[in-house]
């Protein structure tokens, strides 16, 4: 049987536990069963994913909701075809036993992941306590902010529970303190998404459906077999990774899907509306479109 090659561009340059479904799915043959040969490629920087998707260099992408919004504001022909996770687990992490409130942030130094969504949410949280960006000092590190936190070079870092949070647990053996953004004005909408090039989508609806079917199946299987999932990852990326970290990350990720049935990837129109409204309110960018322009559920399995 001839397989259709599908280029799947990732959100950032380095593999991590989020990718487990398609890694394990490829190994188990879930994609080839659907006639797809999945080529997983990484971008130079987090910003380049949408360039590859928009120009059709890649057909599908693992990305963030925010990147889709930014890309569409630049008229890139991309659209979300599925969500990855349900809610917003982004927030501010600090060392174990050093729990911070929003008001405590005044005058503190924060290690941040340098993207637009981080800045936007940070502003939302700060305004909840009547603060602004002027009241804190931010440090953007290209790779990782966690070592800075552990070495007490910064007082706190921004991040999500199943990445930065996982790191803190793996290194120190204890969970860090977490200040969730959703409790302080940020919208509780999914961070990650699967996206596709719209031109390709129009011409290859069946392949798109096949891709999402296989992915849905992979998520369900990976959630049910975490040990196998971590093994598949370790096999592909050898010892460049700390297996303990990957395992922890996947375990931290599974609950975020909510369900792992056919509805796992379903886009919720309300989520998108909330997001667009928040972006408009905080003037994060110009050129916002109606919420329904950002996603489609047409290619999801029934």
């Amino acid at each position: 049987q001839d397989l259709t090659k599908l280029t799947f561009i990732q959100e950032w340059p380095t593999p991590d536990g989020f990718w487990i479904p398609w890694i394990l799915g490829s190994d188990k043959g879930f994609y080839s069963e659907e006639g797809i040969e999945l080529e997983i490629v990484t971008p130079p920087t987090v910003a380049d994913t949408m360039k590859f998707l928009g120009t059709g260099r890649a057909e599908v992408a693992f990305t963030t909701s925010m990147d889709i919004v930014f890309a569409k504001s630049q008229e890139a022909p991309v659209v979300a075809i599925g969500r990855y996770g349900r809610g917003n687990n982004w927030g501010i992490l600090s060392a174990t036993g050093d729990k911070l409130s929003v008001a405590d942030l005044k005058g503190k130094t924060l290690g941040i992941y340098n993207d637009a969504w981080t800045m936007a949410q940070l502003e939302m949280i700060l305004s909840d306590a009547g603060l602004s960006m002027e009241d804190i000092k931010t440090v953007a590190a290209s790779d990782d902010t966690v070592p800075l936190l552990l070495q007490k070079r910064v007082d706190a870092v921004t991040g999500i529970t199943n990445a930065e949070g996982t790191e803190i647990v793996t290194v120190t053996g204890k969970a860090g303190e977490f200040l969730p953004a959703i409790e302080h004005g940020a919208p509780n909408t999914p961070i990650f998404a699967l996206a596709a090039n719209m031109g390709w989508l129009a011409k290859n609806p069946d392949t798109a459906k096949a891709f999402l079917r296989a992915t849905t199946k992979s998520i369900a299987y990976s959630a049910a077999h975490p040990e196998e999932a971590v093994e598949a990852f370790a096999k592909r990326y050898a010892k460049a990774y700390d297996p303990a970290f990957i395992k922890q990350q996947w375990l931290d990720t599974i609950p975020l899907f909510g369900t792992t049935d056919n509805k796992a990837l379903l886009n919720d129109a309300k989520d998108w509306e909330t997001l667009v409204a928040a972006l408009a309110k905080f003037k994060v960018l110009d050129g916002l479109l109606p919420a329904t322009d950002y996603f489609t559920n047409d290619y999801l399995p029934e």
Partner: protein
Amino acid sequence: MQPEKQPLWRSVLYPVIAFILVIGIWWGAVEFYQVPRYVMPSPADVWAHILDDYRTLWIGFQVTFKEFLIGFVLGAVSGFVMAVLMDTSKTVRGVLYPILIVSQAIPIIAISAALTIWLGFGLAPKLVIVALVVFFPVVVNVLDGLRSVDGDLLRLARSMGGTRWSIFRHVKMPATLTPLFSALKLSATFSVTGAVIAEWSASTSGGIGAYLMQANSRLNTSGTFAAIAYLALLGLVAFVLVILVEYLLTPWRNKPMVPRWSTRFWRK
């Protein structure tokens, strides 16, 4: 890479033609291939962005320029000192040379995190990163310069009763200026890249490198290319600066006489 002796109109005209050529090809390509804006903007987009955000860009330019300048001088000076150190003994040279060569293969980004942890978020780690870019070429060239001083000249200086220090000061050191500057010219623009990488590593600065990264993360290609344009400008400034300093420090290469303002000028 000594710039050619040429009439002034040429040394202005040629870069202008070069500039027009680059802009023209860029614009033509963007129009002809219908390159989408989120991949590559047209020169007009970039120009509009620069006009729109010139204040931030200008501040960024100054920040990055400062990082470049201090780091560059630091790297040049420490490279020079290292070369002098290595010139003193065969053993020192033999041991340090392999370390230097191999160290070049280590990507700076891989050690920038450790640098930040040791040195904090201030200027220090950025200066070190810029300095590292200049360091190696300077060591190699200055060492070559020191070792190529004519043995007869050294013998003559000794026969005149020169001490080790005075011979170094007056005979060997000035002989390293030409190779030193050729190393500096080769690494001037490249160390601007060093400053950018440094800003990415741990950025509290509002430099052009940080601007580039932020614009890039928002798919704001006009912003990205505006930053690149400023970096190109910074590279040009860096290069011209090195040439200028060389011109001032090595008057004997361009002039038949010592300049009148020099303390070495003899008035009857």
